[in-house]
C-alpha cells in the first residue's frame, strides 16, 4: 500500500511540471504588447519601456522561464498588475468560496447521481428507468451557466425564495451560506448528476450480472444487501474514476458560475483578470486550479485502491 501511494505521488510530479510549463507558455505567447496596454493610451514610449523593464518582459524566454520557476518554488506567484495584492494572497483569500461550493456540488452529484443510477439499474427497462435516464441525458446537455440564470429567474425573481447572488461565509452563518450557495451548487451539479447517473446505471447493470451477485442471493442475503453492499462496493470502483473527472468539470464550471451568482471566488477572480489582462493572476489561477485537479486525481487513485483490494495489493 505504501509503495502504491509513493508511486502515485511520484507519477503526479511530471504532470505538475508540464502543467506549470504550459501555464507559463500560454502567457508568454500572448500576442500584443502587455506593457503598452498597462501603461494606457497616453503613455510615452519611455514609460512603456520602463514598465517592460520592471516586469522583465525584455528578458529572453529562458531567463524568464528560470525566474518563473525560481519564484514558483518559493511559492511566489508574482504580483497582480491591477489589484494591490500578491497573486497568492488574492487567490488564497478567495479559495474557500470556490472549494466549498465545489464540495457542495460534488455532494449533490454523488447523492443524486448515484441514487438515480442505482434505482434506474435495479428497475432497468421500466418506465422509471427510461424516465430517469431521459432526464439525466437532458441534464447533461444543459449549459450550467444558463441553468444558473434560469434558476435565478425562477427562484429569485419569480418566486422570491432565493437571493439573486452574493455570499455569506459558512463560519458566519451556515444557513446564510446554504441560501447563497445552493443555486450555484445545483446548477454546477446538474450536468454531472446526469453523467454520474448514466455511469452508475451502466456500471450497476454490469455488476448485477456478475457471478458474485448470484452468490450473494444464493446465500440468502436480502435484496438491499445484495444491491447496496455487494453490487455497490464494486460499482464504487468505477464511480470513483468518474468522480475525478467530475471534480475537474465542476472546477471549470465554477469559473462562470461564480460570475453568474456574484460569488467572490477564484473563478470570478480569473474572469476579472482575463477581461482586464491581469496576466499574473490568470497564470496563478490556472496553475492553482490545475494543481487542485491533479491532487484530486491523486486522491481518486488512492480511493480507487481503497475500493479495490486487487489494486491495493498490487495484483
Amino acid at each position: 500500500m505504501f509503495a502504491f501511494i509513493v508511486g502515485r505521488i511520484l507519477a503526479a510530479i511530471p504532470v505538475l511540471v508540464i502543467v506549470s510549463l504550459l501555464t507559463f507558455v500560454i502567457i508568454y505567447f500572448v500576442p500584443g504588447d502587455v506593457a503598452s496596454e498597462l501603461a494606457g493610451p497616453t503613455a510615452t514610449p519611455d514609460e512603456i519601456e520602463q514598465i517592460r523593464d520592471r516586469l522583465g518582459l525584455n528578458q529572453p524566454f529562458v531567463t524568464r522561464l528560470v525566474s518563473w520557476y525560481g519564484a514558483l518554488l518559493q511559492g511566489d506567484l508574482g504580483h497582480s498588475f491591477l489589484l494591490n495584492q500578491t497573486v497568492s494572497h488574492a487567490i488564497l483569500e478567495r479559495l474557500p468560496v470556490t472549494l466549498s461550493v465545489t464540495a457542495y456540488a460534488l455532494v449533490i452529484v454523488l447523492l443524486i447521481g448515484m441514487t438515480t443510477g442505482i434505482i434506474a439499474a435495479v428497475r432497468a427497462n421500466t418506465w422509471v428507468d427510461q424516465g430517469m435516464m431521459g432526464i439525466a441525458l437532458i441534464g447533461l446537455s444543459l449549459p450550467d451557466f444558463w441553468l444558473g440564470l434560469v434558476m435565478i429567474y425562477v427562484f429569485a425573481v419569480v418566486l422570491g425564495w432565493m437571493p439573486t447572488g452574493g455570499y455569506v461565509e459558512f463560519s458566519e452563518s451556515p444557513l446564510g451560506w446554504l441560501r447563497m450557495t445552493t443555486m450555484p451548487a445545483l446548477s454546477l451539479a446538474l450536468t454531472q448528476v446526469g453523467l454520474l447517473a448514466r455511469m452508475t446505471r451502466s456500471g450497476m447493470l454490469e455488476v448485477l450480472r456478475q457471478d458474485y451477485v448470484r452468490t450473494a442471493r444464493a446465500k440468502g442475503l436480502p435484496g438491499w444487501m445484495v444491491v447496496g453492499k455487494h453490487a455497490l462496493a464494486n460499482v464504487m470502483v468505477q464511480v470513483v474514476t468518474v468522480v475525478g473527472v467530475s471534480v475537474g468539470i465542476l472546477l471549470g464550471g465554477q469559473i462562470v458560475i461564480e460570475s453568474v451568482f456574484s460569488l467572490p471566488g477564484v473563478g470570478r477572480l480569473i474572469v476579472g483578470a482575463i477581461l482586464r489582462r491581469d496576466y499574473p493572476v490568470i497564470q496563478g489561477g490556472l496553475l492553482l486550479t490545475a494543481t487542485i485537479f491533479v491532487v484530486v486525481n491523486l486522491i481518486v487513485d488512492l480511493l480507487y485502491a481503497y475500493f479495490d483490494p486487487r489494486i491495493r495489493y498490487g495484483r
Binding site: 444464493a218 446465500k219 470502483v237
Partner: protein, 325 residues
C-alpha cells in the same frame, strides 16, 4: 421415508421458449442425486429454480416444488431469503468469479452467518474459522482477512463450500463444482464434498456433464437431454444397464482403461437449440434406434420399478405408440 424435496411437472421458460419441461423428481434426506447432461440441457436452470433464482426474463411457468413441507413457488420473497443459504445452499461452477472481489473471505462467510443466525461477533468469527477448517483450508484463522484474488481456484471453491455449509443446510446444490478446476484439484474437491456429506449427512444435488464425477459420488442419477429428463435411475443400475439411448451413448463415450483400445464412441450431432426443438422425442435425430414413430410425440415416462424411470418409446413399444396416436 418422506422425500426432502419433490419436484413435479416443472417447466421453466425464457420468453415463450421452454428450457426445462415437465420435470419431476424427488430427493430423499441425505441422498446424493446426480443430474447429468450436456450444456444447454437445463441442468443449471433446474438448480436455480429450486432456490427461485432464475434470472429474468426466465421464470417457472408450470409445476410445483416442495421442500421440507414448504411450497417453494408460493413463498413470499422474504421467506425464500431465509431459506437460501440456510436450509438450501448452492455452489457454482466458477470459483474465480463467484466470490465478491472487494470483500475478505472472512466477511463473506460471516455475513451469511449474520443474516441467518443470531450470534455475537466473537462466536461468528469462531464459526467462520471452524468452517474454513472444515473445508481443510490450512491456517484458517489467518486466511479470514484474505481477499479472493489472493487464493487459488481450488481454495476459492473451498471457501464457496464453507459459505454454503455455514448454516448446515439440508441440501447442497453443487452446479459443476469442479469443471473449472485442474484435474488434481477436481479430485480433491470431490473428496472433500464426499467427506463432508458423510460427516454432515446433508442431501446433495450434483450437477455435472461428467459421468465420471457422478459414478464416484451419486446414489442416483438423472439424465437430462434438451430440457427433459430422459432417464432417472439408481447409479449402479444406470451404469450397469443404461436404458435410454442417450444414456447409453453417454456411457459409451467414456474412455475405458480396462477394455481393449478402440475408437471412442461420440454421439453424433448436436443438442438442439430451445428455439428449434425437433418434433416428438428430442433425441430422435441423433438416436441410433430412431424410427418414424419417434418424431410423432414426446415419449411418456415409464416407471420401470426399483426407483427407475425412462422416457423412451422402446419401453412401451414402437407399434403401441403408433396405435395410440
Amino acid at each position: 421415508m418422506a422425500a426432502l424435496l419433490s419436484v413435479s411437472n416443472l417447466t421453466i421458460a425464457f420468453g415463450g421458449t421452454p428450457v426445462v419441461e415437465d420435470m419431476s423428481f424427488t430427493l430423499d434426506p441425505g441422498e446424493v442425486l446426480g443430474i447429468v447432461g450436456e450444456s444447454g440441457s437445463g441442468k443449471s436452470m433446474t438448480a436455480l429454480a429450486l432456490l427461485r433464482l432464475i434470472p429474468p426474463p426466465g421464470r417457472v411457468t408450470h409445476g410445483r416444488i416442495e421442500f421440507d413441507g414448504i411450497d417453494v413457488l408460493a413463498q413470499p420473497e422474504a421467506a425464500m431469503q431465509d431459506l437460501r443459504g440456510r436450509a438450501m445452499s448452492m455452489i457454482f461452477q466458477e470459483p474465480m468469479t463467484s466470490l465478491n472481489p472487494v470483500f475478505t473471505i472472512g466477511e463473506q462467510i460471516e455475513e451469511t452467518l449474520r443474516v441467518h443466525e443470531r450470534l455475537d461477533r466473537a462466536a461468528t468469527r469462531r464459526r467462520a474459522v471452524e468452517l474454513l477448517e472444515l473445508v481443510e483450508i490450512p491456517a484458517a484463522a489467518r486466511r479470514l482477512g484474505d481477499y479472493p484474488h489472493q487464493l487459488s481456484g481450488g481454495m476459492r471453491q473451498r471457501v464457496m463450500i464453507a459459505i454454503a455449509l455455514a448454516c448446515r443446510p439440508k441440501v447442497l446444490i453443487a452446479d459443476e463444482p469442479t469443471t473449472a478446476l485442474d484435474v488434481t484439484i477436481q479430485a480433491q474437491i470431490l473428496d472433500l464434498l464426499r467427506g463432508l456429506r458423510k460427516e454432515l449427512g446433508m442431501a446433495v444435488i450434483l450437477i455435472t456433464h461428467d459421468l465420471g464425477v457422478v459414478a464416484e459420488f451419486a446414489d442416483r442419477v438423472m439424465v437430462m437431454y434438451a430440457g427433459r429428463v430422459v432417464e432417472n435411475a439408481p447409479a449402479a443400475a444406470l451404469f450397469a444397464t443404461p436404458r435410454h439411448p442417450y444414456a447409453e451413448g453417454l456411457l459409451a463415450s467414456i474412455p475405458r482403461l480396462d477394455g481393449p483400445i478402440q475408437r471412442l464412441n461420440a454421439i453424433t450431432g448436436m443438442v438442439p437449440s430451445p428455439h428449434a426443438m425437433p418434433p416428438g422425442c428430442r433425441f430422435a435425430p441423433r438416436c441410433p434406434h430412431a424410427r418414424d414413430a419417434c418424431a410423432e410425440r414426446i415419449p411418456a415416462t415409464t416407471d420401470l420399478g426399483g426407483g427407475r424411470s425412462v422416457a423412451c418409446i422402446r419401453e412401451t413399444g414402437y407399434r403401441q405408440t403408433e396405435a395410440v396416436s
